[in-house]
Symmetry: C2
Subunit: 424 residues, 2 copies
């Protein structure tokens, strides 16, 4: 199971302990549904619901797509996009030769990006998974129009067989259209906000198509939910939530999520949405940023070591790599690295991670480590549950509603008006 | 030429104007070489030096590589990596069929990432461009050992013909090795720090191999340097540098660099190194973060709109896209988007960008816009010169040495000791 190591944070606590009593209360508020936004806690039950619900059909659909197509175009934005992209990037950063390539569209308006993606798909057979609760969110709706047209051109009357709509279970523009056109649909649950939806069909269908074992993801998530329900300061979720809230209260306003795996990049993006959108409101919130080590030690490293002392750092470490690779011996030893010859790159990486932690702590950056056993389906699922629970608890500890996002409407209102949408 | 639009920032200036006199002094300090770190201002002359120096040989070498290989492995970290990656991602986000694929290695220690890259290269012919001033920086040195071994296996005695070393002009482990092995070399200039080196061979060779017209980049950069030498508040460089310093002084501690192009992602990373490493020291500095719109309006958007009011936002906008794509008309109009039918995606994107700016300004986020004519070689070159000059001037305005990075040594010291390097 996931472990949290706060040994690099303790010296910054100023004599106080993180408030585990507040974490206990927040945890109870979350589970009992007595807090703000309590209608949006369906993610606490998603794994068991998926097992008895859509999971088999998701797997079946993925198999169908894999058997006939080379590409899947996933159309979605925000929570309807980041979870699947995070999972696929982490677990399948480079597709195998026979894997379906997954492309993410509808998460912006750049015509150049659209055309680049079309170029990559080329003449390949492809399917479309459009993900939108309402069907009227501008970016995915525009992309979906474009891809429906392309599907019609390519497959004629059979175009609809290549469309899978993940949307509201009964209402909304996309659901109505799917019903009238006969597209297969999956559900965006009513009681799960976008940023908590990766373990619903929203995330699982693209993941399954990319070759990820989603049954394992879901069964691991179910187990993690049970394990992390522990009501004690031994719970790694409490440790992380309470420590970061404590640090925030005493002046650490920015949290860096760091990893040593390049494949972690979009988990960082997913985490930024999860925490940023949940906690950043009412004028408060920890600013979430992400870095990739060791690369960024040679870019952001200077700032982290020596800049304003309001940064805290959370490092996600994986217990073991999939691969090993020993440093070769070199006769000439011009680079002076023979003292490392024969040692495994992954093991060297772990020493470097310890060295980085020591340097940052010494430089005044509180450090928290989240240790995940492996970078695989189980590890991903545990990590998702861990961060989601921590986010709900941390949000309640800070007094906000961790399940709404009122600020997202502001630009949309302006946008529709300026675009001349009828009735605005 | 680049324009800066401060109309979304002015209302936050609290009645004062940005300090253009200080910008003028900082500009003079920079150009006259009377400030801290003045030995590292060679980037002010790089374009003209390259034209009369290595540029033709860089182009010739790139042609040789393109004619015989399918892949180029660029080994480097920090400034020896981010510039080229930013340029290639921005200008060639998807390689054409006959383009050489450029892989970036030696910027971390993950064995999984290494093996994934090796899988992608497969049996293709490849060349290696190792970029390191000293040749002893851990990550690239380890990767280079691995790739030298692979080259030997693949090409035997001719392995050396596939190695191009960008390194110190006369000293250091890599230069010595290159001399004794007979590898072709290019120069990491003595008077240019890594983060300012993209327009030297460090950035130009990988860019040229990827199919970017580096002659155009360099001639545009030379022109931009002249244009932006203007000593007046009309200079967009002064506007940006002075505005962000003014905002920092009155409490805006975090700067978000935003773009509407997914291909901009690694320019964001390059920019974070440039500004973060130059300004983040002595306990001060603006925290640099980057976001991708519109995607991140559906993730970080909530925080930006409603979180703590210490964010400023710099949006890079390109005047026109390479591609156009009109929103299709849809008979049923289920998504209600027919009011957009026939309108170009890029034009819609511009309206959305204006809407976002209005919403953020209204929400309390000072907004600066950097307008770049086009996303092409000229635009990239102008942008590089613009941000480099702004960084030097902004750094001097804040009182730091914008050309050193003393904090980067802290983790290295720990690391070498913990790895058991002889003599530590």
């Amino acid at each position: 199971m996931i472990k949290v190591d706060l040994s690099g944070a303790k010296s910054f606590f100023k004599g106080e302990n993180p408030d585990y009593e507040a974490a206990a209360r927040a945890h109870e508020t979350l589970v009992s549904g007595t807090g703000k936004g309590s209608d949006f806690r369906g993610w606490l039950e998603l794994p068991s619901r998926m097992i008895s619900g859509e999971l088999p059909r998701i797997i079946e659909t993925a198999e169908k797509i894999k058997s006939r197509s080379n590409a899947l175009v996933v159309i979605g934005i925000g929570g309807s996009y980041l979870g699947a992209r995070a999972a696929i990037n982490l677990l399948k950063p480079v597709p195998d030769e026979n894997d379906v390539k997954v492309f993410f569209l509808g998460n912006g308006l750049s015509p150049d990006y659209l055309c680049d993606t079309l170029k990559q798909i080329g003449d390949d057979d492809f399917d479309v998974n459009v993900i939108s609760k309402s069907g009227t969110t501008l970016e995915p709706a525009v992309s979906f129009r474009i891809f429906r047209e392309l599907l019609k051109k390519k497959y004629g009357d059979r175009a609809g067989e290549h469309i899978f709509a993940t949307t509201d279970k009964e209402r909304g523009a996309l659901k109505s259209l799917a019903n009238s056109e006969g597209w297969e649909t999956f559900v965006v649950p009513d009681d799960v906000g976008g940023r908590y939806s990766v373990l619903s069909a929203v995330g699982l269908l693209p993941m399954a198509v990319a070759g990820i074992d989603v049954s394992k993801v879901i069964s691991s998530a179910e187990k993690a939910l049970k394990n992390m329900d522990l009501r004690s300061p031994e719970n790694p979720v409490w440790q992380y939530a309470a420590a970061r809230q404590h640090l925030y209260r005493i002046g650490y306003g920015t949290e860096l999520l760091a990893s040593f795996e390049p494949s972690f990049r979009f988990v960082g993006e997913w985490w930024k949405q999860l925490f940023g959108e949940s906690e950043g409101k009412d004028g408060v919130g920890i600013f979430p940023a992400s870095v990739e080590y060791t690369a960024d030690l040679h870019s952001m490293g200077q700032f982290i070591q020596d800049g304003p002392r309001n940064l805290m750092e959370t490092v996600v470490r994986f217990g073991s790599e999939a691969e090993t690779y020993a440093v070769p011996f070199d006769e000439g030893n011009a680079d002076g690295l023979n003292y490392l010859a024969g040692r495994d790159l992954g093991e060297i990486g772990k020493v470097v991670a310890d060295a980085v932690r020591a340097a940052h702590v010494e430089g005044g950056v509180p450090n928290m480590v989240v240790e995940i056993p492996r970078r695989n389906e189980e590890g991903f699922a545990e990590m998702v549950i861990f961060f989601e629970l921590a986010c709900g608890i941390s949000g309640y500890m800070s007094g906000v509603n961790p399940f709404n996002q009122p600020g997202v409407e502001a630009y949309k209102k302006n946008m529709f008006k300026m675009l001349g949408k009828p009735g605005t």
